[in-house]
Amino acid sequence: MKRENMMLINSLDREVPSTVNNMNVIPFKGVNKHRPEGFKHAPKVATCIDFPEDGNKLIQGLKEALIKSGLRDGMTVSTHHHFRNGDLIANRIFEIASELNVKNLIWFPSASFECHSKLIKYLDNGTIHHIEGSLNGALGEYVSHGKMKGVGVLRSHGGRYQAIQDGEVQIDISVIAAPTADSFGNANGVDGPSACGLLGFALADSQYANKVIVVTDNLVPFPCLPWQIQGNNVDYVVKVDKIGLPERILSGTTAITKSPDRLFLAKLTARFCEQAGIIKNGFSFQAGAGGTSLAVSFYFAEILKRKGIKARFARGGSNKFLVNMLRDNLLDFILDGQTFDLDGVNSMRLNPNHADTSPFTSYNFHGKGNFAQLVDVVVLGATEVDVNFNGNVATHSDGLLLHGLGGWQNCLFSKCTILPIPLFRDRIPVIKDRVTTVCGPGELIDVIITERGIAINPLRKDLIEKTKGSGLPIKSIYELKDEAERICGVPSKPIFGEEVVAVIKWVDGTVIDSVRRVINPGR
C-alpha cells in the first residue's frame, strides 16, 4: 500500500501521500486555512445497568481485562506517556496480545520512549501493524529503515486530542496506567508510589475510547480524589504490583544545564525577551524542562526579581524550578501539562495555583478557542530550521526519526515563539536551505537565537523595531546559514528511498510533511 500511493504537493511545497494506512488524508493547506466539518466522534452510549451495582469494576489481571474488552486483530490500542521512560504497561499489553496471537494492532500512545524499544519484536512478529505516536530511539530507527508494516503517524499533543475528538483515530481499547485509583475507575497521578503528577494525556482516551481499562498499583477505597480520570468512563480496573519505575518516571531534569554554550544561549534568549519588552508584569511563558529551556526560566526569574514584577502564569512541564518561582511569588499560576519531578507532583497536590491541564484545555485546535495563543512567549528546541523559518523536530539531518512532536506544534501559536539553538551540532548545520522534515511552518516561528547571532522572522516587524539599537547581535537568517556553512562546509543532500515511512500531521489534522525511508543512515 505505501508503495503505490498517489503523492500530492501541499502548500509548503512538500510531497505528501493521498492516503495513509488506507485512510484518505488532507494535505496541509496553510496556517488557519482548514475548517473541519461534521460532528465530534462519540463512543457508544453505555448504561450503568451493565456495570456492577456496588461500583466494583476490579478484575483479575490485565490479560482478562484485554480479553473482556474484546481484543482482536486490527484494533487500535492506546496508552499514555506520563510514566515516560519508566512505563511498564505498554510493553505488557503487547506481550499479552502476542501470547493471544492477536495480529495487526495499531498502537496509539501519546508518546513513546526508549523503554518501548522492546516492542520491536511485536512489530516483527506481526502483533503490531503500525504506531501512531512519537517515534524515537530504536523505534524511530526501525521505522526509518522501512521495517514497520504500516505508516507511522506523528501528531502533536493537541493534534492527538483533535484526532480522537474528530474521529480520525477511533480507539478500541485504552489502557490507562494510574498511580492511584479506586475500584470504580476514578484515578489520579498525584498520589501513590508511581506518582507522575497528572493524567492529562489520557483524558481524550477515557472520553472517547470504546473500552477503558484503568491499571493501578495503588488501589484506594472510593472515592479516589482528585478524579483526574472519571470512573464513569471506565470499564475495568486492574490492580498490579508495579505500573512503573518511579526513578525513570520523574526524570530529574531539574538541574540547570552546565554546558556553557547552552547557558550562553539561554542568557541571550532572556536578554532578547527583556529588550523586546516581552518580560513585563503579568506576562506568561512556556519553557520546557530541557537543558536550555530550563536555564531560560532561570534567567527569566532573575529578571523578574530584578524588576520587582511577576508573571501571571507559566505553562509547564513543571519542575522544582517553576515550583520555586510560584513559592517565591514570581508567578501566580502554573498550568501544568506533565510533571517532571517530585517537587512538581507535591506542588500540584498541595497548591491550588498549580493546576493540571490536558491537551484539550491547552492545545486542542478544534475547540472554541486556544490557550496556546494566549501565551506571551514560548521557548522551544528544534533539530533544524530553514531560511523560511520552517522548523523540524522529528527527524535528524540524515532523515532518521528521532523524536516526537510533543506540544511543539501547538506552542507555535504563542505571541512569540523563540528557538534558541546552536548554529551547528558536531558539524551538522542547524540552519539549512530546506529542513529535512517540516513540522512547523515558518510563519509561526518568530526568532532563532544562536550563539553567533539572532535572526528575527521578517514577518515580525514589531520585534525587529523593538530590538533596533539594543546591541543584540541581530543578523539575517541567510547570514546565519552562511556562517554555519563557512564553519562546517556546505552539506550535501542525503538520499532517501521512495517509500513514505511516516507522516507528520499538523494541529488541524492535515498532513504537513512525509518522512521517507532512510537509505544510508551513516551510523
Binding site: K258, P260, D261, L263, F264, S397, D398, G399, P422, R425, D426, R427, I428, E451, R452, I487, C488, G489, P491, S492, K493, P494, I495, N520, P521, G522, R523
Partner: protein, 404 residues
C-alpha cells in the same frame, strides 16, 4: 610484527564529539583503502573522503590503509589527525596548511586587556570550537599539562590548524607551550601561523626567554613572517620568583607575567590555601616587578569551577594586590573574573567626581584642586582617568558618562 607499522591519532568514545580517530598503515601496494564511519556520512561523507585523498596525495602516499571513526570533526581537525598519522609513518618536510582566515591575521596590541584568558586543552577540538562566543580576552590553546604525553605530537598539528582555521571571535590567540626545552619543539607549529602570545610554563631565568626569543626570530625569518609574538612567562618555582627581575628585563616582547600557584606551593613545600598567605611574597614580588617594567601581572587560576562565590572573593583579593587578570579554566568563570577585576561602582563614582572637580578647577583657573575637604593631586587624577577608561572598556560605564 605488523602492529609496529600501524599508527593512530585523535580520540574516540561515547563522549567524544567534534573529533575523529584515525588508524593508518603505509603499504607498498594495493592503493588507498579508506573506510569512514561517520555520524555525518549522509551530508559530509563524500567531502571528508575527498579531503583525505587530497591530503594523502599531497604527502605522496600511494598505498595505505586508512580507517576513520568520525564524530563530527571539522575539516581542520580531520586534516590535523591525518597529517599526524602520516608523519608518524614517514618523514616529510611538507605541511598541509589550510587558509589562514582573515579574522586570524589580526595582530594584537601590547597593552590590550588580558583580564580573562580561557584555557583550552590542546587536543580537544570540541572545547575550542565555540570558545570565542564566551568572549574571553584571550584563548590559551594548551600543549602542556592538559595534553597526555603520548598525544603531544598530534596536538601540535591540531593547535596549528586551529590557529589558522578557527574563528575565536576576537579573542587574542595564545598557546601555552611545553616546559623548556621541550617547548622549543612546539614553536615551529605556532610562530608562522600568527599566534599572538606564547605562554612559557615554569619559567626560571632569562636564558630560557632569550633562547625562545632566538628561536622565534629564526622561525620568523625562515617563514617570512613578521607579526609580533608576545610572551607571557609563568612563574611556578622559587627560582622563578627570585629571578623575576632578570626575567622581566630579558625581552621587550614580554607583555605579562603570570603566577602558577599549584606548582609554586609544591616547590615551596606548603599547602595552597584560600587566603594565600603562603604565596604572598611571591605574588607581591611579581606584581611589583611587573609594575616597574610596564608588564601586566596575572594571577593563578581558581580551580573550583563550581564555587563562583569563592571565585569572586579570590578576584577581589587578587585585584586589591595589583593583579590585572586571571586565567579561566571554564567559560562560566569569565563573566565573574571580568566583572570583579573591573572598577567597582564606588571606584567609578569616586573617579567621576575627581574628574569633574579637576575639570572645574581647570575651567576656573584654580591652582589647587579639591573635592569636598580633600585636596587632590595629579597622580590621583591620573588614577581616576585610568579607572574611567578601564570602566568604559569593560562596559561598566557609558562613554558619554555624566555625574549623578
Amino acid at each position: 610484527m605488523e602492529e609496529i607499522n600501524r599508527f593512530s591519532a585523535g580520540n574516540r568514545g561515547e563522549k567524544v564529539r567534534s573529533d575523529c580517530f584515525m588508524t593508518f598503515e603505509l603499504k607498498t601496494e594495493g592503493g588507498i583503502k579508506l573506510t569512514l564511519s561517520s555520524k555525518v556520512e549522509s551530508i559530509y561523507g563524500e567531502h571528508i573522503r575527498l579531503l583525505c585523498l587530497k591530503i594523502l596525495d599531497y604527502f605522496e602516499v600511494k598505498h595505505a590503509v586508512l580507517d576513520i571513526e568520525d564524530s563530527g570533526a571539522l575539516d581542520f581537525v580531520i586534516a590535523a589527525r591525518l597529517e599526524s598519522v602520516i608523519k608518524q609513518s614517514k618523514a616529510s618536510d611538507k605541511e598541509f596548511l589550510q587558509e589562514l582566515i582573515t579574522e586570524n591575521t589580526l595582530i594584537t596590541n601590547k597593552k590590550r586587556n588580558r583580564i580573562t584568558r580561557l584555557y583550552l586543552p590542546g587536543n580537544t577540538p570540541s572545547l575550542m570550537i565555540n570558545s570565542g562566543i564566551h568572549q574571553p580576552d584571550g584563548v590559551i590553546l594548551d600543549l602542556e599539562d592538559s595534553v597526555a604525553y603520548l598525544k603531544k605530537h598530534e596536538a601540535r598539528f591540531l593547535v596549528r590548524n586551529a590557529l589558522r582555521s578557527l574563528n575565536f571571535l576576537g579573542a587574542e590567540r595564545m598557546v601555552r607551550i611545553n616546559q623548556f626545552p621541550e617547548g622549543l619543539k612546539d614553536l615551529p607549529y605556532l610562530i608562522p601561523h600568527n599566534v599572538n602570545v606564547i605562554l612559557i610554563p615554569k619559567c626560571e631565568n632569562e636564558v630560557q626567554i632569550k633562547t625562545i626569543v632566538g628561536h622565534i626570530e629564526m622561525i620568523q625569518k625562515k617563514s617570512k613572517t613578521i607579526n609580533p609574538v608576545w610572551l607571557m612567562p609563568i612563574i611556578e618555582s622559587a627560582k622563578g620568583v627570585l629571578n623575576i627581575v632578570e626575567i622581566a628585563k630579558s625581552s621587550n616582547t614580554i607583555v605579562a607575567i603570570a603566577i602558577g600557584l599549584e606548582d609554586l606551593t609544591a616547590d615551596l613545600g606548603v599547602s595552597r590555601t584560600h587566603l594565600g598567605i603562603e604565596s604572598l611574597f611571591a605574588r607581591s614580588q611579581i606584581i611589583t616587578t611587573c609594575k616597574a617594567f610596564g608588564i601586566q601581572p596575572i594571577d593563578s587560576v581558581f580551580s573550583d569551577v563550581e564555587d563562583l562565590e569563592g571565585l569572586k572573593e579570590n578576584v577581589l583579593a587578587s585585584k586589591s594586590l595589583g593583579f590585572e587578570g586571571m586565567g579561566c579554566i571554564h567559560p562560566r568563570q569569565i563573566e565573574i573574573i571580568r566583572r570583579y577585576f573591573a572598577p567597582s561602582d564606588d571606584e567609578i563614582e569616586e573617579a567621576k567626581s575627581i574628574i569633574v572637580a579637576y575639570n572645574l578647577a581647570i575651567e576656573k583657573g584654580l591652582g589647587v584642586i579639591s573635592l569636598g575637604t580633600k585636596m587632590i593631586d595629579v597622580p590621583v587624577v591620573e588614577k581616576a582617568k585610568h579607572i574611567i577608561k578601564h570602566a568604559i572598556e569593560l562596559g561598566r560605564l557609558d562613554e558619554n558618562w555624566t555625574c549623578k
